[in-house]
């Protein structure tokens, strides 16, 4: 749906060139929610603004729905932008216009007939749950309600792509949840491709299908969210994953094993098992336990979600003959669980 090829962006500041994006190659599939995460100044906003050419790349091409936007005339680009909705961290609503008029704004730009505008605006007000607020002004709304107006407005021209620049960063956690849920619903019901940028990993975990990690103007890691969570390759990715890890393994538990007499220690192994998806885990544990002469003891664990998929991480103590314990670990791995031996 969106392909960035070799995109580079330099800014000229005081006659000196600053490279915001080095060489971005990225493909975003139709219908997915793609998240881009990075620290402040990494180039996230620049990247997302290159997708609708609010920022003209210094070189490279930006292909959205088969069209290379960098090759379009001004008029064609303006028409192409009707198909690309965008929402903003600070909402960017027209303070002088009612909620109704704010949502009608892109429809008026596209010169739709009045009856069609009215129908569409009412439909969108209903979709985002703001029908009762149609005649209010933005200053009379809460942050979450303002972002709902922003979303409704972005959807007015039935875009194929929705770009979200830190859409929830100005909102409290509860409101963030409801906005993310709204985005996920829209993605499902309308089949809309969503690109969102954020510096918060929990946003990625909540709704994204795939994630790209950007650092100093480069995409350093891309993959399905679950995979990136389970096996982060880069250091920066690991840091982001730790942001949301509710998995605080008490280190003193390990120390306790280290203090054991050597012979006793050999009979205990501590491993960390990670699993994704609900169906496989419990039966696998049981089967392995039955097939090997060892005992499991759960020392620590959490179960959370990555988008709609449960995701768990357990620390197990395996007691038994060292050979048997090793075989049990192997068996767990063979059955698709990720096992890391801690001790």
């Amino acid at each position: 749906m969106i392909t960035l090829q070799n995109v580079r962006k330099d800014y000229l500041v005081d006659k000196k060139s600053i490279t915001a994006l080095k060489k971005i190659d990225l493909t975003i599939e139709r219908g997915e929610i793609f998240g881009i995460i990075g620290h402040s100044g990494a180039g996230k906003s620049t990247l997302i603004r290159c997708i609708n050419l609010l920022e003209q790349p210094t070189s490279g091409s930006v292909i959205v729905d088969g069209k290379d936007l960098t090759q379009l005339s001004q008029g064609d680009l303006q028409r192409a932008r009707h198909e690309i909705g965008m929402i903003f961290q600070h909402f960017n609503l027209l303070a002088s216009a009612t909620i109704y008029e704010n949502i009608a704004f892109p429809l008026r730009l596209a010169k739709r007939p009045a009856a069609a505008i009215d129908r569409k605006v009412r439909e969108l007000l209903d979709l985002v749950g703001l029908t009762d607020h149609a005649t209010k002004y933005p200053s009379q709304l809460s942050g979450g309600q303002k972002q709902r107006v922003g979303i409704a407005r972005a959807l007015a021209n039935d875009p194929k792509v929705l770009l979200c620049d830190e859409a929830t960063s100005a909102l409290d956690p509860m409101t963030t949840q409801s906005i993310l849920k709204l985005l996920a619903d829209i993605n499902k019901t309308l089949g809309l491709t969503i690109v969102l940028i954020t510096h918060e990993m929990h946003v990625i975990r909540e709704i994204c299908d795939r994630v790209g990690v950007i650092d100093e103007g480069e995409i350093v890691e891309v993959g399905p969210v679950a995979e990136v969570f389970l096996k982060p390759q880069q250091k920066i990715t690991q840091e982001f994953v730790e942001q949301v890890s509710d998995f605080d393994f008490p280190e003193e538990l390990l120390a306790q094993y280290l203090r054991m007499p050597e012979a006793e220690r050999a009979r205990h192994q501590v491993v960390q098992v990670s699993f994704l998806g609900d169906t496989t885990f419990q039966p696998v544990m049981f089967q392995v336990l039955q097939e090997h002469p060892v005992q499991f003891n759960i020392l620590h664990g959490t179960i959370s979600r990555i988008k709609d998929t449960p995701f768990g991480r357990l620390v197990l103590e395996i007691t038994g003959d060292p050979g048997a314990a090793q075989k049990a670990v192997q068996n767990l791995q063979e059955r698709g669980l990720q096992v890391e031996v801690l001790l």
């Binding site: 932008r81 903003f88 960017n92 027209l94 303070a95 002088s96 892109p106 596209a110 407005r153 770009l163």
Partner: protein
Amino acid sequence: MDFNALFANVDWTDIWKACGETLYMVGLSTLFTALIGLPLGILVVLTSPGHLLQNRPVFGLLSFIINIFRSIPFIILMIMLIPLTQILVGTSIGVSAAIPPLVIGSAPFFARLVEVSLREVDKGVIEMAQSMGATTWQIIARVLLPEARSGIIAGITITIVALVGYTAMAGVIGGGGLGDLAIRFGYQRFQTDVMLVTTVIMILLVQVFQSVGDRFVRYFNRK
């Protein structure tokens, strides 16, 4: 005390005539000031660095012209413009002859006020409109002007009040009006009562213009 004795020198028909002249000059010159100053202010903002139609030479030139007209004292401007007035109005004396210098003196001032209020429009909102495929015209008509509406109205109010003051100098070219009356009778002939009456009327005029303007600003301000 006898009212008529107190204002012995005041000829009320003269006063009313002068009132009419002042309102005529202020009204027409406000209209033309807005017609020239508004587009000028918009153009200055749009051509300024980092804006939609960014263009250094045009911006520099407009800015220079505005500064020149703003730095010439009105009374001198009025005399300098006599040939132009002659061409535009067909005469260089009288109430109508005061209008071109009034407009040329206040349009650059108003343009600056427009510029200031347009610059206060949130950059993010302009960007939002661009991201939705708005043309430059659409951004002017549907974003910049509506969002800056209350600031522009405040600017018009300030301009009207300044014009009331400028018209007082129009007497130099036979423009008439309250200020002229005050200078010719009140000052030059020491008729303190005429001075008092004309001044009070001018104060009242300014008060009325200002409070009506403020009311509009409050009505349109949605922030």
